[in-house]
């Protein structure tokens, strides 16, 4: 198994990566948040910040209002169990660092039962029909250490097929095709199950080993993966992507549009989100980031100016909002620092799975848990409310619950 590192979400800024470097990072990395989140945070916290003689530039405009205009459906976020988060712990899940599939399957059954109040068999109908095409959004970053465990995916597939869903109606997916393979999601391991990356990337060109871009760049100057994205469904932000070829290779587009994958807009009818429990800087990279940055292309440009807001605004669009019915965060092995890439120093076996239809409540629970873990381990943690403000923003949009007082956190 080839262990590659994370590639899907580089930081960016409105003047491009090289200019960022020339500026010595003065523009700030992705988590140096501005604008919308902060203003909203002040409203939420009821605190009145002092007037500022100077301040950062306003946050770029986005087309979030377009997303909110589209009527909701019975499947829309936060799903049938707003604010309910089930945490299942079994110390026998990963003996000696190896997953015990039978234990994980039992944990999965327990989690679904506690979330829904029904058996696995009966709960199927709460989320799916037998005609659905269900996409399992995994996180393949940090394979071998901190990627979504295959055994968790197995448990979901067993549940779906037991409910009557044909294997051909299940698709394991991520942004990048090669990352799925690296993390063990292969046709041999998953016979009859679909495996799809929204895009490809020529690694040799990305690494500068070759100047031959013909494997990914068409004669008309467009990326070969352009047809995989839906030109009619997009997240727009007033931020240009960098115009260099490496960026285009990695992100397919480099304008102000982040198009949704056609997999989401045309093929999948439901999504099960399967992130892992890990940090990104001082924030978390779990349910909402896995889908927020996984469902669309051209995300690099969004990182600095809109970082965590993207975790709210992309899921607010119908291909996610009306299809993502369940989230299961894989905390069998978790990582409290050094993320989003793998870092063994901070990874630990935790033997937990978290279940929710509401990804924002789920992330709030997991954020608080990672803060506690960082404190326990003596790692610095910045508890400034701005790092969870995006979750409260989601609550204001009606996408989920972020207020801890309204969250039912059930431990099993």
């Amino acid at each position: 198994m080839n262990k590659r590192s994370y590639r899907s979400m580089p930081p960016d800024d409105t003047v491009g990566r090289r200019d960022f470097l020339k500026a010595g990072g003065a523009i700030g990395a992705g988590l140096i948040m501005t604008g919308r989140s902060l203003v909203a945070a002040q409203q939420t916290q009821g605190q009145q910040p002092p007037a500022k003689p100077a301040g950062p530039p306003p946050k770029p405009k986005t087309n979030i209002d377009e997303a909110l205009k589209i009527p909701r459906t019975k499947w829309s976020l936060p799903g049938p169990f707003p604010g309910r988060v089930v945490e299942v712990h079994d110390p026998a899940a990963m003996p000696e660092g190896k997953v015990d599939a039978a234990v994980v399957k039992a944990m999965f059954e327990k989690g679904i039962r506690e979330l829904t109040g029904k058996s696995l068999e009966k709960s199927f109908g709460l989320f799916f029909t037998k005609k659905d095409v269900v996409g399992l959004k995994v996180n393949p970053v940090g394979p071998g250490l901190i990627s979504t465990r295959l055994e968790v995916v197995d448990a979901v597939i067993d549940w779906l097929t037991a409910g009557g869903l044909p294997r051909k109606n299940i698709v394991i997916w991520d942004r990048f095709d090669y990352m799925l393979k690296d993390a063990g999601f292969t046709a041999e391991r998953y016979p009859g199950i679909g495996l799809e990356g929204l895009q490809t990337m020529d690694e040799a060109a990305a690494e500068g080993k070759t100047e031959d871009n013909s494997k990914w760049l068409k004669a008309d100057g467009t990326h070969v993966s352009v047809p995989n994205f839906d030109p009619k469904v997009f997240y727009w932000a007033d931020v240009e992507g960098p115009k260099d070829l490496p960026y285009l290779n990695q992100h397919v587009f480099n304008g102000k549009h982040s198009y949704f994958g056609k997999l989401l807009t045309e093929k999948l009818t439901k999504i099960v989100n399967l992130p892992v429990f890990k940090n990104t800087g001082n924030a978390i990279s779990m349910a909402t980031k896995n889908i927020g940055y996984g469902a669309v292309c051209n995300t690099n440009r969004l990182h600095a100016p809109l970082f965590l807001d993207v975790c709210v605004e992309v899921p607010a669009f119908w291909p996610v909002r009306d299809k993502m019915v369940l989230n299961v965060t894989d905390g069998l092995r978790s990582q409290y620092d050094g993320g989003p890439d793998k870092n063994a120093k901070f990874a630990y076996i935790d033997n937990r799975l978290y279940f929710a239809s509401d990804p924002f409540a789920l992330d709030m629970v997991c954020h608080n848990r990672i803060v506690a873990k960082r404190k326990e381990m003596g790692v610095a943690v910045n508890e400034n409310p701005r790092f969870t403000e995006y979750l409260r923003y989601a609550e204001r949009l009606g996408l989920g619950i972020a207020d801890p007082a309204k969250i039912a956190h059930v431990r099993v």
Partner: protein, 312 residues
């Protein structure tokens, strides 16, 4: 030391201590600032030659697995997107990655060449976690079975042991040592020397060179709020008062008094919305944060002495 009982007096004595501690560090800072103006990072290397990536002979039965992969400058985004910011902020030159295999065991050597030894140290301190050295490694390191994190000279090195079957600790150490043998140590003053010794919690020292490194500690404001400009190292550590209360202290030595004054002015003008100033002075201010924890910023000459998360 900034508690409500005796804040001003101790801040004054603290400044004197800082100035004393900075004496040795100024040599480093001036040299670094001078070097920063002299050209691109690679051109500033003083170590003769580039240490070679080891052949697979570091231990019996091993073979190269795939070709050497190299990432230079901003191309690091192509390897560790989402994790590249910290390296770039500290001054990244290039990364070489080489995998080795023996049956189902796999070791991957990652060699990050940084601008300077201080840059490499800065990354290492952020990545080492609770430092647990493997004594068989011929450099400062923090080891786990799955990954060894190392710093020597201007090189930050990681050995990943993530194959389906783990390699032995001796094999991982042998690979690391095979590379380290070609790396010259770069001893001398480091930016950490700016930190006063009294009350400092051992092992808590960190370097800051921009917003990404500062982020887990405190939010003073947005962007490059301390005007470090990707050139200036701040030194940070956890401190304990005699009564046991803990706080963070960040010492930033700017190139000159004008630069520190400009940084202080920028900080005052763009202070985080959750920080409330409780006492303002021409050379600094006191504040409380959203958790009602206290802090202070004091400028003396070219230096900002910042304390935060000060409990009662």
């Amino acid at each position: 030391m900034c508690g409500s009982d005796r804040p001003r007096r101790e801040r004054g004595s603290g400044r004197i201590a800082v100035l004393s501690a900075l004496a040795a560090f100024l040599v480093f800072a001036i040299a670094a600032a001078s070097a920063a103006a002299c050209g691109p990072p690679v051109a500033r290397q003083t170590v003769p030659g580039t240490p070679a990536i080891p052949a697979a002979t570091f231990a019996p039965g091993w073979a190269m697995a795939g070709a050497l992969r190299t990432f230079t400058g901003q191309d690091l985004f192509n390897q560790i997107d989402g994790g590249a910011e910290l390296f770039l902020e500290f001054g990244f030159a290039n990364l070489r990655l080489q995998a080795y295999a023996r049956d189902k065991a796999e070791l991957t050597l990652g060699v990050y060449e940084m601008e300077s030894a201080a840059s490499a140290l800065g990354v290492y301190l952020m990545k080492m976690g609770r430092e647990t050295p493997f004594p068989e490694i011929a450099a400062r390191n923090s080891g786990e079975e799955a990954q060894i994190t190392i710093v020597k000279g201007r090189y930050f090195v990681q050995v990943d042991n993530l194959g389906d079957v783990p390699a032995s600790k001796a094999e991982a150490a042998a690979l690391a040592n095979a590379f380290l043998a070609g790396v010259a140590a770069e001893d001398g003053p480091t930016p950490l020397d700016a930190l006063p010794a009294e009350g400092k919690v051992p092992g808590s020292e960190r370097l800051i060179r921009g917003p990404y490194g500062l982020q887990p500690y405190f939010t003073f404001g947005e962007g490059d709020i301390l005007q470090l400009r990707g050139k200036i190292f701040g030194a940070l550590a956890n401190y304990r008062r005699p009564d046991g209360a803990a706080f963070y202290r960040l010492i930033v030595p700017y190139p000159d008094a004008a630069a520190s004054a400009a940084a202080l002015a920028h900080l005052k003008a763009n202070l985080d919305a959750y920080i409330k100033v409780t006492a303002d002075r021409p050379d600094g201010f006191d504040f409380i944060d959203f958790q009602s924890k206290k802090g202070s910023v004091a400028r003396s000459g070219a230096v900002l002495d910042i304390r935060f998360n000060v409990g009662d």
